[in-house]
Amino acid sequence: MLDALKAIIRTLYIIALMGFTLWYGYFLYPVIFGTTEVETEEDFASQEIEAFFGEGTTEEEKEFMKSLKQQQRISTTDLGYMVIEEQYVKGHFHHVGMKVETDDNSICTRCHGAVPHDKAKTIRAFLNMHAFYMACETCHVRPEDDEQEWEFRWYDKATGKVVANPPGLNTLDESMYGNYSAKISPGGIKQDGSFKFINGPKELAFVERYLKEEGRLDDTQKSKMKKVIHRNVNEDPLICDGCHTISDEPYLPFTLLGYPQRRLHELTSTEVVGMINKYQEFYIPNLLRGGGVDKDVETE
């Protein structure tokens, strides 16, 4: 009995070893005949482009492949006493000293990306700056008249969970200043007393599903769904002075969100508010006052 078992084990071992031998022969080929040249990223990308699209690649296609390659590229600067690892931004001169985290929990960025504001030329960079730590819903969606007032919380860009005080909010450390890894987003208290963002995991799952299966809709249905999905997007987004105001009740409850007095003062100081007023006067386009667009940008 034991001998039979031994013989079986032995046979299995031999078969496994034969497999290993075959694998080794397969493994050796590239080791022996492997290319001596290391392919550069560029070469690799261009090869892939050709494999993808054949000859006559358009600029759009090239840009797409390049983006695929360069996503999340990190550039490193070794100063000896410290090593700076930062987001690679093509053609950027100044050191940014940070990595731009992706927001995995926004339903909007799935299509609109992290840098969505483009229409209002004079203030688009400011608007994108706000999108860095405020969910789209904060300004672009407002409670219905019959709805109870919303509450605001920070959510972690990676996990989507509520975070009480994001690091960087209450710090004097320059390297952490404004480095929240979190966004402010609206929500409400459910009947069981727990807090729920207006767009949480359930809505995110819907967006995922929609994007996956959009191809099954016919063209008319697609247009319809586009309208339905964006139904609660407010045509009049919240504008600057909703929050940057000297009044006692800004739209966002800064204190509840954990802003220290110092930062609160910054946001509502005459410095910022004054500048915004100037902006309003000279630069704020009609876009932000009733759904229009910048005067030199054509309507979509």
Binding site: K6, A7, R10, T11, I14, L17, M18, T21, Y24, G25, L28, I32, F33, T36, E37, V38, E39, T40, E42, D43, S46, E63, T77, D78, L79, G80, Y81, I84, V89, K90, G91, H92, F93, H94, H95, V96, G97, M98, V115, D118, T122, R124, A125, F126, N128, M129, A131, F132, Y133, S175, Y177, G178, T270, E271, V272, G274, M275, K278, Y279, Y283
Partner: protein, 391 residues
């Protein structure tokens, strides 16, 4: 030449326009930024560039540019990030330059999209070895005459002018790489060394700046691997090399050398592109093509380049014959390497596949120890037991 630039930089930053207490001025400016803005808004904001003591952010640009997400996608489709990391900005020689010194076209807040920066403009600092305002123009002129510039070429000769680099194609914002020599060399600032400077030079950050500036210039500003990756932005691109009639993938062949491998593993001492392609002791911007008689890589100069005092000082003249950028796939240019490698490849393949086959057959044989097509007579009647059975 290197020394020349070093001097300009050092002295400029340190002896330039009176830096007394500029940090205090800076903080005063930040808190009082509104005043400036109001001045500007009223149309009075025409600054004289050397009006007051140097301050990095006289205009309070960071009021907005300190926010991390300040960004947009530009018309070309590139991501533009306008965030300024002040902590890092102040770690380099540009800390004493105002934003407006480089971004000269910005004259109001809020401002229009800024133009590209021209590094050859004069900034407000005085170059202390002379009386001139400081500018990177001399460097740009050296670059223009080098293989990376078009100054020495006829107009018809210039193909692909867009391929020739501008300052910022190679340089990002410079950062100090200070060294400490106090009781042995190490990276970073020696607080004990610095305290000696501060015995006399107590005002402001003068001592810190001087220390940082000088010790940074006593070593390379970047580690070898970073330089190689920098050059690889163009010279690692096969199509670029082809366009300019340059030899294949020089970056890949560099990584294959011991120089490259050491660089890859973080050695600071190993030569990068600059060490061999710049004439020893010359300005790094003066790289010449290898056909030029003055080039570090001209046949007649290679030996001297290799035998530079920090490198292969004891080597013979013949070290010039070592072929750094070997392309093993090119039998015409590198026949010896090509055929040697081929010999070893076939030797390896021959030996290994012979044994792989034998071992495979041997294992197979073990599964059927007693089977054979032809049985010699004396073996036919033998009752054989497999070797396995016996163990």
């Amino acid at each position: 030449m290197l020394g020349m630039i070093m001097n300009i930089d050092i002295n400029n930053s340190l002896y330039g326009v009176c830096p007394k207490g500029w940090r205090n001025v800076a903080s005063a400016c930040i808190s009082g930024g509104l005043l400036y803005m109001l001045l500007m808004f009223c149309g009075l904001g025409l600054f004289s560039s050397n009006s007051i003591a140097a301050a990095a952010d006289e205009l309070n640009c960071v009021l907005c540019h300190k926010y991390r997400g300040l960004s947009r996608i530009d018309e070309k489709g590139d991501f533009r990030l306008f965030y300024i990391n002040q902590g890092l900005f102040n770690k380099g020689p540009h800390k004493r330059i105002q934003c407006k010194d480089c971004h000269t076209d910005i004259d109001k807040i809020p401002h229009d999209p800024a133009k590209d920066v021209d590094c050859t403009v004069q900034c407000h600092l005085t170059e202390p070895s002379g009386e001139e305002k400081f500018t990177h123009k001399p460097v740009a002129e050296v670059l223009a005459k080098s293989v990376h510039g078009t100054a020495n070429m006829d107009e018809e000769e210039i193909e692909y002018p867009e391929d020739y680099p501008y300052c910022t194609d190679c340089h990002d914002q410079p950062l100090y790489r200070p060294l400490s020599f106090f009781k042995g060399q190490a990276a970073g600032v020696s607080e004990r060394g610095l305290s000696r400077c501060k015995t006399c030079h107590q005002t402001g950050d003068f001592a810190e700046d001087f220390y940082n500036h000088v010790t940074s210039r006593l070593q390379k500003m970047r580690v070898s691997a970073e330089i190689v990756n920098l050059c690889a932005k163009c010279h690692g691109d096969g199509k670029f090399q082809e366009r300019h009639g340059l030899q294949g993938n020089v970056v890949a062949s560099y990584w294959e050398t011991f120089h490259g491998k050491a660089a890859y593993f973080g050695s600071d001492a190993t030569p990068d592109c600059i060490d061999c392609h710049v004439v020893y002791g010359e300005n790094v911007h003066s790289i010449a093509g290898k056909d030029s008689r003055t080039s570090a890589t001209h046949e007649a100069n290679v030996a001297a380049t290799c035998r530079a005092s920090e490198c292969h000082a004891n080597a013979g003249e013949q070290i010039a014959g070592y072929q750094v950028h070997t392309d093993y796939d090119d039998p015409d240019k590198y026949p010896m390497q090509h055929y040697m490698l081929k010999f070893f490849k076939y030797l390896m393949a021959g030996v290994m596949y012979f044994f792989v086959t034998i071992i495979f057959l041997e294992l197979l044989r073990r599964l059927f120890p007693n089977f054979s097509f032809f049985k010699p007579r004396k073996e036919i009647r033998q009752t054989t037991i497999s070797t396995a059975g016996n163990e």
